[in-house]
Amino acid sequence: MTGMEISRDQVRRQRRAIDRANDQAMRATAHVMAAAFEDERSSDDARARLVLGGLARRRFLTIGGFSVATAALLAACGAKDSAGGVPKEGEAPSTTALAARAYTDAILLRTAASLERSAMAAYDAALGVLTGAARDVAAQFKVHHQAHAAAMDDQVRKLGGQPYTTSNPAFDEKVLKPALALVKTDKDALQLAHAIENVAAHTYQAFVPMLTVPALRSAAMTIGSVEARHAALLASVLGAATAPSVAALPAAGATSTVAAATTTTVAGAAAVPAMYVVPGSFEPLAASTALVGGELLTIAPLGPNSYAY
């Protein structure tokens, strides 16, 4: 006999053992079921106790798997005893749903104007760091943003709305203020400006399908496209590749956010985000990265929490 073979005697012995165990289990199960359901004197409560509860360990062991499974199923489906053993873990407390915030064309344009003014504030800060031609470019781009804000204000008025004449508070608080605190060098300022231009471009682009009037979509992209041009020029100043793939962007340290910038301490030069003049075949609605003061910032286009309602 090899190791893989089993002798006939061994098989017979095992079969007899199985038969005996089965016979015992069946008799015990039949007894329980008869006691519960065939004896008319047995009350419903007694029947339930027999199936569900009060099982001594010995009986539990002898009534077999079927009864155990049935009891488990019934227990799971039955009413919970609030004072008893079934814990209420997992039941969430009642909550009140947040009211949906509707946006209109005017709100989107007010938001755009507010972002333009935040961009102006960013360039104001950058002008304190930049020198030479880079400073001149920043000053010029700031003038563009001022014009964009004025154009958006004008449209808001035409729509019967009230222009939003200050910078975007959510963007300022969560993104701009902490980012500007990190700006130390001209490169920091240009990196941040590049990211903000991308954020502006992508915010306008995201607004296009949300605006209800086609002419407003066109107006938005006469500006959004210029923000993309700004970003392209700043990228080339920073020394960018011409037309690389988005997939080549370094993944290290990059995290996505909804509205606020996240910071990730950069360990080495390898994590410097690549500056792309042309990000790919299509303008992405993606977050932009900037290495400012040794920290990698990830800044997303404006979302509903940052709208100027």
């Binding site: 154009a151 035409k158 682009q205 296009v208 700004h230 075949s281």
Partner: protein, 242 residues
């Protein structure tokens, strides 16, 4: 970008910015108030198979915008009136693919510039594919013949790399303006979103080419992207054939 050049270019920007801003403001103001300017073509644009689809002007349907107190949800899919513009846009993109292929084949471009031309050509091919997905049967899949002829002839006559790149720069600049203009006419939000993802890329292409050419900053970053028909490629003058 060369720092000295930036300084020089910056001086030219201010006047242009004010002019353009005024133009855009005037345009939008007119859009909101001139009900009579509903259609700039007033006709139809022939597309493949002889089908004719009306092309509305960029200001069509905008007249009531200023006074609107309630808004109606914009349709998502391309509307019937969008199909002709999408078919035209596809033909424009396919023409750009051919122009870049011809440019790369001139032998006048430096190797790294050939790489740029090939990359931009690929971008345009992908734009054409995306637009075809929206236009469906209206998309002809044929490069715009008049654009191919016009720009192809210019490329063939180019004597230098700068000549070739100037042609590409003009095409990209016009394409960006064409899409800015087209967004005024496109009704469906899905095609509008796609065009809005393509238009900034054409603008970025123009920036790259303009930098290589040493164009003034005013050409690389105007304060507003032109969206008037005079700056765009007029669909009625460059009919689609399929």
């Amino acid at each position: 970008m060369d720092v000295t050049r930036l300084r020089r270019l910056l001086r030219e920007v201010d006047d242009e910015h004010r002019d353009t801003m005024q133009t855009v403001t005037d345009e939008l103001s007119a859009a909101a108030h001139a009900a009579s300017r509903r259609a700039f073509l007033g006709g139809s644009l022939a597309i493949g198979g002889g089908a004719a689809v009306a092309v509305l002007g960029p200001l069509a349907g905008v007249a009531a915008a200023a006074d609107a107190t309630t808004t109606t949800a914009a349709p998502k899919p391309p509307q019937a009136a969008d199909l002709a513009l999408l078919a035209f846009a596809q033909s424009l993109e396919l023409a750009a693919v051919q122009v870049y292929a011809a440019a790369a084949a001139t032998g006048k471009l430096a190797p790294e510039v050939v790489t740029v031309a090939n990359t931009f050509g690929r971008h345009h091919r992908e734009h054409a594919q995306a637009i075809a997905g929206l236009a469906g049967k209206a998309a002809t899949g044929v490069a715009n013949p008049k654009l191919v002829k016009e720009y192809g002839d210019k490329v063939a006559a180019a004597k230098s790399q700068a000549d070739v790149l100037t042609i590409a720069f003009q095409l990209e600049t016009a394409a960006a303006a064409t899409y800015a203009y087209a967004l005024s006419a496109i009704l469906g939000t899905n095609p509008a979103a796609t065009i809005a993802s393509i238009q900034p890329i054409e603008a970025r292409h123009a920036v790259v080419l303009g930098q290589v050419l040493g164009r003034p900053l005013i050409d690389l970053a105007p304060s507003f992207e032109p969206n008037a028909l005079r700056d765009a490629i007029d669909p009625t003058k460059y009919p689609v054939q399929g």
